[in-house]
């Protein structure tokens, strides 16, 4: 069997354990994109930090959330961030979210067939100020991309996609979007065996990226 094939399969098994406990969620609405990431930085069964920010803003109107192998995530995110910012400075224009997604995918795909590929899963949320449309891209560590109205990584995929299937509409207002997100995070809090320390929630819209206060202190009634 070719080595790259073995690599792919090994990585597949690798990712299925620890990094699935890191949850990323994203959803788009009429004129915004919400991206949320769990705040627990974990190593094995230990929580090292309860206020981890698993996001980086790449330019004024795109935000990237990441999960995966510890060193890879931040390194890859900041590498991409630096290159996107360099592009903005050189050309005096911001790349639109689809262009950013294409660049990120290209870099991840190049790394996939290198000696030591990045094992990073990503959500890329953005708002295009020219077309006035929200964007959300789902990317996994194999560099598969899908433009989606809502997306998740980690166990959130199994718990939240069905909720989003039922409640999401493409033309919802921010308020309604946050309500749906609350249903998702409540479900995670209710069903996951360990505390993921709540979610960090950010919104991307015409004014850029901003954080939203997200209270997870209230206990969720178990089923």
């Amino acid at each position: 069997m070719p080595r790259i094939l073995l690599n792919l399969i090994v990585h597949h098994l690798h990712l299925s354990s620890a990094s699935k406990m890191e949850n990323l969620l994203g959803l788009t609405g009429k004129d915004f994109t919400i991206v949320a990431a769990s705040k627990a930085a974990m190593r094995g069964a230990t929580i090292l930090k309860a206020s981890d920010d698993k996001t980086r803003s790449l330019n004024k109107n795109t935000l990237m959330a990441f999960s995966g192998e510890a060193g890879d995530t931040v390194h890859f995110a900041e590498f991409v961030q630096a290159n996107i910012q360099l592009y903005s400075m050189r050309n005096d224009t911001e790349l639109g979210p689809p262009a950013v997604a294409s660049f990120v995918r290209g870099e991840l795909a190049r790394s996939l067939r290198s000696k030591k590929p990045y094992t990073v899963n990503l959500l890329l949320g953005g708002y295009d100020p020219i077309t006035k449309k929200p964007h959300l891209f789902w990317l996994d560590y194999l560099a598969s991309v899908a433009p989606l109205p809502y997306a998740a990584h980690g166990y959130a995929q199994y718990y939240c996609l069905s909720i989003l299937d039922k409640h999401h509409h493409p033309d919802i207002e921010l308020e309604q979007g946050l309500k749906i997100l609350r249903m998702c995070t409540d479900e995670l809090q209710r069903r996951l065996p360990i505390d993921f320390k709540g979610m960090l929630v950010k919104v991307i819209d015409k004014d850029g990226v901003r954080e939203i206060d997200w209270d997870s202190s209230k206990a969720v009634k178990s089923a």
Partner: protein, 205 residues
């Protein structure tokens, strides 16, 4: 189970008719049993030639981008569109370049040669071995099922309307028997000076 060819799922089929060809694909993108997207088309147009790509989703995108680059360069150099036959050789050699670390894709080509006016289809394995066929080409996780439905439905010299019905029924009924494919389909019917692209809703479960 976790062969790179069947992680993401997907299906593609091409058929020959009378002075026309058709190519169709499903729209699912999954991670094993979890469906991630129901809007992931696997057919890419390169001028007059249509390329269907199934297999590992990342390589579907990588290979589609690679051929966009190569075909654009060909068009600038030659100042004409690429013919389906030339495209087939380009795909074959490009895939064989990666003989010992292949792209995990099974490409399908469909098009009409504009100098001869003859329809052309062919398929490949992941390292570029060409499969020329006079009737139909199948690929993807539903290829076994597609062989069955195509073998049962295809007949020689179909008109475009007939060909559309045949390829659509062949694909739709094949993907319904495959857990990793489905969620809607795109069907292209290519005639001498007309291409019709149709979206089929299909079963959404």
């Amino acid at each position: 189970m976790s062969s790179p060819f069947s992680i993401n799922g997907g299906a593609c089929v091409a058929m020959v008719g009378k002075d026309c060809v058709a190519i169709a694909c499903d729209l699912r993108l999954g991670l094993q049993s979890l469906t991630v997207s129901n809007n992931f088309p696997k057919i890419f147009p390169y001028g007059d030639v249509y390329l269907g790509l199934t297999g590992l989703a990342t390589d579907v995108t990588t290979v589609a981008d690679l051929f966009r680059y190569k075909v654009n360069m060909y068009r600038l150099r030659e100042e004409r569109q690429i013919s389906p036959q030339t495209m087939a050789n380009l795909v074959s050699t490009s895939l064989y370049e990666k003989r010992f670390g292949p792209y995990f894709v099974s490409p399908v080509i469909a098009g009409i040669n504009h100098t001869t006016g003859k329809p052309f289809i062919c398929g490949f394995d992941s390292i570029g071995c060409i499969d020329f066929a006079k009737d139909f080409i199948v690929s993807g996780t539903a290829s076994d099922q597609l062989f069955g439905t195509c073998e049962g439905l295809w007949e020689p010299d179909m008109e475009p309307e007939d060909l559309f019905e045949t390829i659509s029924q062949a694909l739709l009924n094949a993907v319904d028997r495959d857990a990793l494919s489905g969620w809607g389909a795109y069907v292209y019917v290519i005639e001498k000076d007309k291409v019709t692209k149709r979206l089929l809703k299909g079963r959404q479960d």
